[in-house]
Symmetry: C2
Subunit: 349 residues, 2 copies
């Protein structure tokens, strides 16, 4: 394959994976609605279908990349079904996270507990149950991946670790009381919630499904961790400084929610008395207005935490690409892994 | 084995299964705490450990009975581990149900969302996550059952159905608005939440793990459904008329929560104007006092719904025992199944 051909294939690949994963999710939900043991279920299936729409399918993409890295064939239905299982797990996590964060919208639509409210039923109760159902579905879809049982069993430890780490990360994240400058804790959330859950474990699951041996599984963890950290650091920068029209992400929600990001921990640690006054006065204020948000941005910039965070991103991606260069990964997987890592390096402000 | 020996073995059996299942749960939670990826997790493990204590282990017992019915050996570690997986699933369901019902206590101890409240964290958010974790753990334990992958795969459709039915039953149950006399809906809740989730599916899961063929799996469903219905009808009678000191169950919670039971649907349908007035005035009143509860009890008795419900229980157990007599079930499993069915027939008032 020529270099140009490789680049083109890698460029087309994410869209093809996304389409195939979406088709797997749609077919699965069709079957669940048709085989529902009670007429109360099909309307819930439709709420799940709407809510899963529009996701970026990051975990299925990393899962499929891990599969390629372990020599799996491009376009295999097995890995798309596994990706659909990860996406339904993510749907479960988002539905429950939105309850905990008391969020009203997600991807421009009402969150599930808002959509299911009304009638005689509490929207929160119904959303807890629909989240539970998505977790059960995710598991069912994974068990139905058309691969020998030994392959699925090989992926299970990575899946189990992913699920426990996702819960641990969220559990740390719902505690709003740690010090603003608690950098160690902010990193723990990043490592569990993003580095592991979003990147490293999906890579390992895909690789294990393709029969990967220990060195490649170790590479998936070593490559996935800095890439995942870079993703989260970039997300934090976008949350603070991004243009909502371009990112689809609110530019005040992280501020209002008092999110304990690495960015804000770095800012606090390097802040002088003036910046600390601003952070203390405005960070986590539910009624923060645009002027207060602008003050916060200026204070964070004054500490240099934004450029420091961008530097952390760049170094992590550089490290990941160095690891990739030395890794036992077949040629077709290289541009795919490099491109996925690269999406985290885009300058954001 | 003599008849007397069989009876003794069946009599000792539930305690032995409970002890073995408890030991599996304890060992699993020990491993989870020791291998936790973050120091925030071990305290959550301990909350789960406390909360699982004191359960009756009904689902593990039916699971082990299904295993015996399919020729599995008494005392097999595999079926105890599967039972522990079902019990952790039940722990997940109880934690989330208690949030939805806004319950303060369970088995004489604070519910999980009460126990985890305080500090900077919402107890409800933390309990949603601990419930999620129990569901993940349940799955992990099942995957670790020491049986060939084909056996676990054979049990999976029954497990999947059980989990979806449990969610459907709870979803129907959190809708407090149906008519008091909606008998069809009351039966749907009984069928999903108890008949299927508590009895028929655990029987099938145990039988499938032991390699059961189709006729035995059909027997598990046919036997389990009336037994499970009888269990729930008895629970409803205990909730309305039982002695809390003897049952460990509040004698006003079902009334205060306006629980849509088969008992109350029958009462409504047969009630005259006087009884309907009482039901309408008191059923579902959160501030119901002892006098109001006594009025409700008298009104339900006046309709004859209590004796009718007891009759429904007796007929269901009779039907189940007839099925058992004709079923392809080996001798050691017969007294066990009969005894488990019989626990539902005890007269309650």
């Amino acid at each position: 394959m020529s270099a140009a051909g490789t680049v083109t294939a890698a460029g087309l690949w994410p869209g093809a994976v996304r389409d195939a994963v979406d088709a797997e999710i749609a077919a699965f939900l069709d079957r669940e609605a048709a085989a529902a043991p009670d007429p109360c279920l099909p309307p819930l299936v439709e709420v799940a279908r709407t809510f899963t729409g529009g996701g970026k399918r990051i975990r299925p993409l990393f899962c499929a990349a891990g599969w390629l890295a372990a020599g799996g064939a491009t376009g295999s239905p097995a890995i798309h079904r596994a990706g659909a299982a990860l996406e339904l797990f993510h749907t479960f996590a988002l539905i429950h996270d939105d309850i905990m964060d008391n969020s009203d919208t997600r991807r421009g639509r009402p969150t599930v507990h808002r959509a299911l409210g009304g009638g005689g039923r509490s929207g929160v109760s119904a959303a807890i149950l629909l989240g539970d159902l998505c977790l059960v579905w995710s598991d069912r879809l994974l068990a139905a991946v058309p691969l020998p049982p030994g392959r699925i069993a090989a992926a299970r430890p990575h899946l189990d670790a992913m699920r426990v780490e996702a819960v641990a990360g969220q559990y740390l994240d719902i505690d709003g009381t740690p010090e603003l400058g608690d950098l160690d804790r902010a990193w723990r959330v990043v490592r569990h919630k993003t580095a592991s859950y979003t990147v490293a474990r999906p890579l390992q699951i895909g690789a294990a499904l393709a029969g990967a041996r220990e060195p490649l599984l170790r590479f998936c963890a070593a490559f996935g961790r800095p890439v995942g950290e870079a993703f989260q650091l970039r997300d934090d920068l976008l949350g603070a400084f991004g243009d909502p029209a371009a990112t689809g992400k609110s530019s005040v929600d992280d501020f209002r929610g008092g999110k304990r990001t690495v960015l804000v921990a770095l800012a606090w640690r390097q802040a002088g008395p003036a910046e600390r006054r601003v952070l203390r006065a405005h960070y986590g204020r539910a009624d923060l207005d645009a002027a207060g948000a602008a003050e916060l941005r200026a204070a964070i910039r004054a500490t240099g935490a934004d450029t420091m965070t961008q530097d952390l991103i760049d170094r992590r991606i550089g490290h990941a690409l160095d690891l990739l260069a030395a890794a036992p990964v077949p040629e077709p997987a290289r541009p795919v892994l490099a491109a996925l890592a690269g999406t985290a390096t885009a300058r954001t402000h």
